[in-house]
C-alpha cells in the first residue's frame, strides 16, 4: 500500500474510529542495523579515533566498522535528509544513524569506502558556502550543540536557538574539527527555563532568560485561565487574586518576588513574559553527565545576563570563546571544565576567564546555603582585594 495522496488519505472523518491503529510503538531497531552491526552486535572489542570525526570499532571477530561523524542542524528539511539518503545508499548500503547530540553518522565496513565517503562529504557545501556535513565532533573537542526550538517553533522562548547555535559553532568550528582540548566540552542551549534541552549538566550551557515580570492581560484572565492554577504555579507565591476596576476576576503580581521562571505563563496565556529589552542569555558552566573520575555536576551560572543580539550574538560568542580558551590553556589532561574550576577555585576561574563576579551569581533561592563557603581556604584575586578595600580593611 503506497502512501496515499487523497486529501484525507485513509482517514474518514465521518467514522473517526474506523480502522484506527493505535499503540504500534516505534519500528523495531534490528532491521535498521547495517549488516556489519548486526553480525558484530555485542562483540565490539575496542575503538580508535583515527582522526577527528573518524572512528573505527574493532570486533572480536576481527571485523571493523568505520564511522564518519558529521555535524548537523537538528532543524532540517526533507531535502537535506534525501541528500543523506543518497550518500548512505552510495557508501553505506542504505543505513545511517543520528547521535544523541544531533550528529549524523555514516558507517561502512572498509577503510577504502570510508576514505571515499569522507572525500565526498567534505566536498558538499550549501550554495552560500557552509558545509552540509562537516566532519568532526569526536574526542577532546567540541561536538554539536544540542538545543531547543526557539523562535522557529516555541511560544515561550527568551531567545532564539538555531541562530545562536549556528553563530557559536561558526566561532568554535576549529574545536569541532580538532581534538586539542584537555577533555570534551559539551555545550547545550535552551531558550527558556523550561529547558526542553535540559542543559543543566553541560560544560557550557546557554540559556534564554526573561527579566521582566509577566504583563497581565486582565481582559481575558478569567475567561481563558484557571486563576487558582495560575496562583499555584508560582514557586515564590508572588501571584495573588485581584479584581479589575470594572470588577473582573484577575490576578496581581508582587514584582519583587518574581524570579522570571515563566511557570505561570505555561499555565496561562494571559501572563506573557517575553520582552525585547528584558530577555537575554545566561551562561552556565562546569556541569557534566559522565561519572568519569568526578561525579556528575550541575552547571553553575557564570554570566548572569547578556543581550539578545540577533542574529549572531557577538557578546555570547565572545564569552563562550573566552571560557573555552582559558580552559584550553590552563586545564590538565582529562580535566573537564568543572573539574578545572574546582581545582583552581571558582575565584580563579572568574579571574582566568576574565568574567566579572556580581551578586547575581550568589544563590539566594532555595538551597543557597549549600553554596556558601564556610572555610578560610580561599585564594586572593582582584575581586577579594576589592572587598577588603570596600570594607575598610586595606587602603
Amino acid at each position: 500500500m503506497a502512501l496515499s495522496t487523497e486529501r484525507l488519505g485513509l482517514y474518514n472523518p465521518e467514522k473517526p474510529m474506523q480502522n484506527r491503529l493505535t499503540d504500534l510503538g516505534p519500528r523495531h531497531f534490528w532491521q535498521y542495523f547495517p549488516p556489519i552491526i548486526q553480525s558484530n552486535y555485542g562483540k565490539w572489542k575496542y575503538h580508535e579515533i583515527l582522526e577527528p570525526g573518524i572512528l573505527v570499532h574493532v570486533s572480536e571477530t576481527g571485523d571493523k566498522v568505520f564511522t564518519v561523524r558529521c555535524g548537523g542542524c537538528r532543524f532540517m528539511s526533507v531535502e537535506h535528509i534525501r541528500e543523506m539518503c543518497e550518500i548512505a545508499d552510495k557508501y553505506c548500503e542504505g543505513y545511517l544513524r543520528f547521535t544523541t547530540r544531533n550528529n549524523i553518522e555514516f558507517m561502512t565496513d572498509s577503510q577504502d569506502k570510508m576514505e571515499a565517503l569522507k572525500k565526498d562529504l567534505q566536498g558538499r557545501k550549501h550554495v552560500t558556502g557552509s558545509y552540509k556535513f562537516p566532519i568532526g565532533g569526536t574526542g577532546a573537542g567540541i561536538t554539536n550543540i544540542v538545543h531547543t526550538q526557539g523562535f522557529l517553533h516555541c511560544h515561550t522562548p527568551a531567545t532564539d536557538a538555531s541562530s545562536m547555535v549556528k553563530a557559536v559553532l561558526d566561532d568554535l568550528f576549529e574545536y569541532f574539527q580538532g581534538m586539542t582540548l584537555p577533555a570534551q566540552v559539551r555545550i547545550s542551549m535552551a531558550c527558556c527555563l523550561n529547558m526542553c534541552g535540559a542543559v543543566h549538566c553541560s560544560d557550557i550551557a546557554l540559556l534564554g532568560y526573561h527579566r521582566k515580570p509577566p504583563v497581565i492581560d486582565h481582559e481575558v484572565m478569567d475567561s481563558l485561565c484557571e486563576i487558582p492554577l495560575v496562583i499555584a504555579a508560582c514557586p515564590t507565591g508572588a501571584i495573588s487574586p485581584a479584581k479589575t476596576e470594572d470588577g473582573k476576576k484577575t490576578v496581581k503580581i508582587k514584582e519583587e518576588r518574581c524570579m522570571f521562571c515563566g511557570n505561570c505563563y505555561t499555565m496561562c496565556m494571559a501572563v506573557p513574559l517575553a520582552d525585547k529589552e528584558g530577555d537575554g542569555v545566561t551562561i552556565l558552566a562546569g556541569g557534566k553527565i559522565s561519572n568519569r573520575i568526578s561525579t556528575p555536576e550541575f552547571s553553575k551560572v557564570v554570566v548572569p545576563w547578556l543581550p539578545n543580539e540577533f542574529p549572531r550574538y557577538p557578546d555570547v560568542c565572545a564569552h563562550v570563546k573566552r571560557i573555552v580558551e582559558a580552559y584550553a590553556s590552563d586545564a590538565k589532561k582529562y580535566e573537564r571544565i568543572g573539574d578545572w574550576a574546582k581545582r583552581i577555585g571558582w575565584e580563579r576561574f572568574f579571574e582566568k576567564c576574565d568574567l566579572p563576579f556580581t551578586d547575581h551569581l550568589i544563590d539566594d533561592y532555595r538551597l543557597q546555603y549549600d553554596t556558601y563557603r564556610t572555610t578560610t581556604q580561599f585564594k586572593y584575586t582582584e575581586a577579594a582585594w576589592e572587598v577588603s578595600r570596600a570594607a575598610g580593611g586595606i587602603e
Binding site: 500500500m1 474510529m17 491503529l21 516505534p26 539518503c85 552540509k132 534541552g197 532555595r366
Partner: protein, 472 residues
Amino acid sequence: MAFEPTEEQKVLKYQELRIYSDEELNNYTEEELKNFKVKHDIPDVDELEKGPWPSFVADSKREALHRKKLAKDRMLIASECVEDLLGQLQVSFDDGETHWKHGGIVGVFGYGGGVIGRYSDLQEQFPSIAHFHTMRVNQTMSKFYNTDYLRCLCDLWEYRGSGLLNMHGSTGDIIFLGTFTEQLEPVFYELGHVLQQDLGGSGSNLRSPSCCLGKARCEYACIDTQDMCYQLTTYYQDELHRPAFPYKFKFKFDGCPNGCVASIARSDMSYIGTWRDNIRIDQEAVKAYIGGEIPPNAGAHAGKDWGKFDIQKEVIGLCPTQCMWMEDGKLMIDDKECTRCMHCINVMPRALRPGADTGCSILFGAKAPILEGAQMSVLTIPFVKCESPYDNIKAIVEKVWDWWMEEGKNRERLGELIQRYGIPKFLEVLEIPAMPQMVTEPRSNPYIFWKSEDVPGGFQRDINVYRAKHKR
C-alpha cells in the same frame, strides 16, 4: 543473535510507497538555488548563511525552492510555508520576541500526546503557517535508520506537512514541524497503516524512552540498551499515549557510566549499565599503552602534544578510589574498591574492559530546574539483572508509578515527590532497605521521623501517668 520485534515488521520499500517521482524530487538546479530569493525581506536571517557550520537557513531555502517548483496539487500545505517561517523568524528578530501563540489543544483521536498545537500570531502576514502543529514520531532505538524508511517519511511530510523537521527532538523523537489541524489524522493514519509507525509521547505521559548506541557499536555497553528501550516502550504504550500521570515521566537507558544519553540528568528513571565482577585486563595491551604503541583514550587527545603517556599520572593517579597499582610490570586493580567510573577503561580501551557479569543500576528523579531547582537521579537500586522480558524492572516501574499517581501533585515530577516525602518513604514504596550508597554522607541533623511502631510502647501516652511522677 538477533532481537525480535513484538509485532511482525512490514518491510518498507520506498519504490512501492513513494509519492514523488524522481523528476519531482530533482526539480531545481544549483543555479536556480543560487538565484533564489524568498518572498520576504529577511536580512538578519540571510546573515545566518555565512560561516562554516551547516546553515539551517540555506537548507530551508532549498526546501522552499523545491516546494515552489512542485505542482500546487502535489502538496496539501501551502508551498510558501517555509518562506513564511523564515519571514516570521525575521520579524521575531526585529521584535526580539516569539510570534507563536500560547498553546492550542489539538491531537489525534484517543491519544493525549504526540501532537502539540502551534499557531502563528501573525496569520495575516504569514497565512501558510497560521497553523504549524508539531507531531512527535517515536524514533527507532539509538536512531538507526535505513534510507527506504527515511525517504518515506520525507515524502509523507512534504506532502502533508511543511517538509521541515527535527532529527531529533530533545527527548528523542523525530519531530515533524508544521502542519494544519486537518492533516493531523491523515498523517497519523499514513504513519500507522502504511509505515507501521506510531507517535511518541508528550504532555503528562510516559515520554518516548531513549537509549545510547549500546552494544550495537560500543564496547563499553553493559546492557542491551536498544532491546530494553524497545520492550519497555512497546509494553507501556498506554502510558505513552494516554495521560494518566501527574506530569511527564522519562526513561533513559545508558549502556555504561559514561552516560551518553544523559539519563542521570534527564530521566525520572535512569537505567545505567554496570557490572559486578572484575574489570577485564589484557596485560599485554597495558604494556603496549605504557610503551606508547597505542594512543591513550582511543586517540581522543591526538590534536595536542600532551607528552609521553604516563600510566601512573594519567590512570593510576586519577583513579578516584586509588584502587590501582603496578606490580611486577602488571596493572593490578582492587576491584571491590572500584566505583566503576570508567576512567581507566576510557583511557585504555584495548587493555581494560568492563566486567562480564553485567546489569544496570537504577536511579530516580532527575529533572531540569523548573521549579524547585534541578535534580539529578538518586542512586536507589545498585544492581539489577537485565534480561528480556525485563519483568523484574517492570515490577519496579509499576510500584513507582502507583505511588506517584496516588501522591503526586499536579505537575510534580517524581524527583520532587521523592524530596517532598523523603527517601525513606520512597524505599517503603519500593519495598527495599536503605543503604549508605544512596547518600553522599549521612544526615548531619538528628531530626529523624521516628514512627510510633519504632518506639517501645508507641506514641500513645497518658498525661496523668506522666503527672503522677512529675508535678506541674
